[in-house]
């Protein structure tokens, strides 16, 4: 086998093991006190997830994330639908949605604090702000995608407005809505972490700060990896649903 075809048979995610090994070596022999060996981090991560402190932080974080995402969904999808079906709404809001989707929203977070206080509300708002725009844009794009002959078809066969909306537009936009949801989850996770560490030291933010200020590097990295793993699993879950509906994304 050529080296090329060897690679064909190794799943590409496996290269992460190579990186982990490099990390382990740096951790052991690199003499950088900030980078403990990977093995120690993993051991610490196992320990960490069993502590009360972690569970409490997880609960606080999950709550902020859940409420923020729920708000983003409740606001984002209808807004996207509105902008998809009603031209004036799109013309009025399109610019703003596009500004906010790429704006450094982080700068807005400090402003939320005097507005909403130092508690969960601000973190919820941060999650919401990070997640909502991509949902709006993708929902809108999804609705647009269905726009063509499927709607005409439903009209020809005598569909009413609500039939067209529920039987054609919504299921038709589902692939994009799910893509939007997945991207919103990625952004929402960023939002919850940024919110927690910029504003109030809540949940994981508090743990990060505690470990960092006291130079507990094993705990710090363990938490980084655990949070990553949680985010990854969440994103993959949405991704799985998304792939289930993806088969018709190219054929509407």
């Amino acid at each position: 086998m050529t080296p090329r075809s060897v690679l064909d048979h190794v799943p590409s995610g496996f290269s992460l093991l190579v990186w982990a090994a490099i990390w382990e070596l740096i951790g052991r022999f690199g003499g950088i006190d900030l980078i403990p060996p990977m093995s120690a981090i993993v051991a610490k991560a196992v320990e960490l997830v069993q502590t009360d402190a972690f569970m409490k932080a997880l609960a606080v974080t999950a709550q902020a994330f859940g409420v923020g995402m729920a708000l983003a969904i409740v606001v984002g999808i209808p807004l996207g639908v509105l902008m998809g079906v009603w031209r004036p709404a799109e013309r009025l809001l399109d610019v703003w949605v596009n500004i906010f989707i790429s704006a450094p929203l982080t700068a807005l977070v400090p402003a939320l604090m005097p507005l909403l206080g130092i508690g969960q509300t601000t973190v919820v708002a941060t999650v919401f702000l990070f997640a909502v725009w991509v949902l709006v844009i993708d929902t809108q794009a999804g609705i647009r995608h269905v726009g063509g002959s499927l709607v005409d078809m439903a009209r020809v066969f005598g569909g009413t407005r609500s039939q067209i909306f529920f039987k054609v537009l919504l299921p038709g936009a589902l692939p994009e809505i799910l893509t939007g949801l997945r991207l919103a989850v990625v952004r929402g996770v960023k939002g919850v972490v940024i919110g927690q560490i910029i504003i109030a030291l809540l949940g994981f933010g508090e743990l990060f700060e505690l470990y960092l200020q006291n130079f507990l590097m094993e705990e710090f990295w363990a938490l980084v990896f655990v949070v990553f793993a949680l985010a990854f699993v969440l994103v993959e879950l949405v991704g799985m649903v998304e792939r289930r509906f993806d088969f018709y994304a190219g054929s509407r």
Binding site: L34, L201, E209, F215
Partner: protein
């Protein structure tokens, strides 16, 4: 059960045990619950207090009271300033060398910042930039790595660093410090509405601090007894007693709750730091402190 929200600008560690112990005891006497939250910085704590999101702040509110005329008063001095200017001797040897150099301190609005400003004045120099790096532990790492050349460190970390490499890390001469680092404060309304609570808290703080001063092992012991900070990582738990064994002889914990004398000293300090304009006489203690609860508490538990 009533919850009293207390805010401070750091994550909770063993260093906070004296006040945690006091609050735990006060809880038992008052039937309330103290809920301590850690916020990003001192100015966030102050804002939270004036916005009524937090009942009691730990830190200081001098600047806020001065500029905003905020209805906030200090009522108990918890910890004095004990920070030392540590420099990398390969870069700087005297105060004069620090002119134009970067100086790292804890946080905006913190005592370390004021201290840095005071040092500029006292030595007739101007730092290049004062940058904010929260956590003495973080700053000593940066000092070790050479990415930071001058900073203010608390007592234990100063010792740690200078003992590690006495040639490389030196402490520049400073006048004895008597300024406050962390003070309990609240809105006038809160203090007025909760006279008993504030007084009891002061009493318990006095008792707790006196106990710590008498035996630096007390915090670690009481932590287990009272079940405080249960989730503290082991490395931090092990550090509790060494910290107090160093901090107590350094005179960090006052036994009298501060009061007028502390306020006057703070005015001097803030004026020297350039954060207050004018002279000591221009500032009145009662604009910044509500001495009544402390005095009542002292009357109850004795003036030592």
């Amino acid at each position: 059960q009533r919850v009293i929200r207390v805010g401070q600008a750091d994550t909770l560690t063993g260093h906070n045990l004296p006040e945690l112990i006091a609050m735990a005891n006060a809880e038992k006497r008052l039937g309330v619950k103290f809920n301590v939250v850690a916020l990003k910085s001192d100015d966030v704590v102050f804002q939270a207090v004036i916005n009524n999101e937090i009942d009691i702040g730990i830190g200081d509110a001098y600047k806020g009271i001065d500029t905003l005329k905020a209805p906030v008063r200090h009522f108990f001095l918890l910890r004095r300033v004990a920070y030392f200017p540590v420099v990398n001797s390969e870069a700087y040897k005297t105060w004069k060398d620090l002119a134009g150099a970067d100086m790292a301190v804890h946080a905006r609005g913190s005592a370390t910042e004021a201290l840095a400003l005071q040092m500029e004045k006292a030595n007739g120099i101007k730092f290049g930039q004062i940058s904010f790096v929260p956590g003495s532990e973080v700053r000593i790492i940066a000092m070790r790595r050479g990415t930071m050349k001058a900073t203010l460190l608390d007592l234990p970390n100063t010792r740690k660093l200078t003992e590690e490499d006495p040639k490389k890390f030196i402490v520049l001469p400073v006048e004895t410090q008597s300024a406050s680092d962390e003070i309990f404060y609240a809105t006038t309304k809160f203090i007025a509405d909760n006279k008993e609570l504030v007084q009891v808290l002061c009493e318990e703080l006095l008792k707790s601090l006196r106990a710590v001063n008498a035996d630096p092992k007390t915090p670690a012991k009481l932590r287990t007894e009272l079940g405080l900070l249960k989730d503290l990582p082991k490395a931090l738990a092990d550090d509790i007693t060494p910290y107090f064994e160093m901090a107590v002889p350094g005179g960090l914990f006052p036994t009298d709750g501060g009061g007028a004398a502390a306020a006057k000293a703070d005015f001097d300090f803030l004026i020297a730091a350039g954060r207050f304009k004018g002279q000591n006489a221009d500032y009145r203690v009662e604009d910044f402190w509500d001495l009544a609860p402390l005095n009542a508490a002292l009357a109850k538990v004795g003036t030592n």
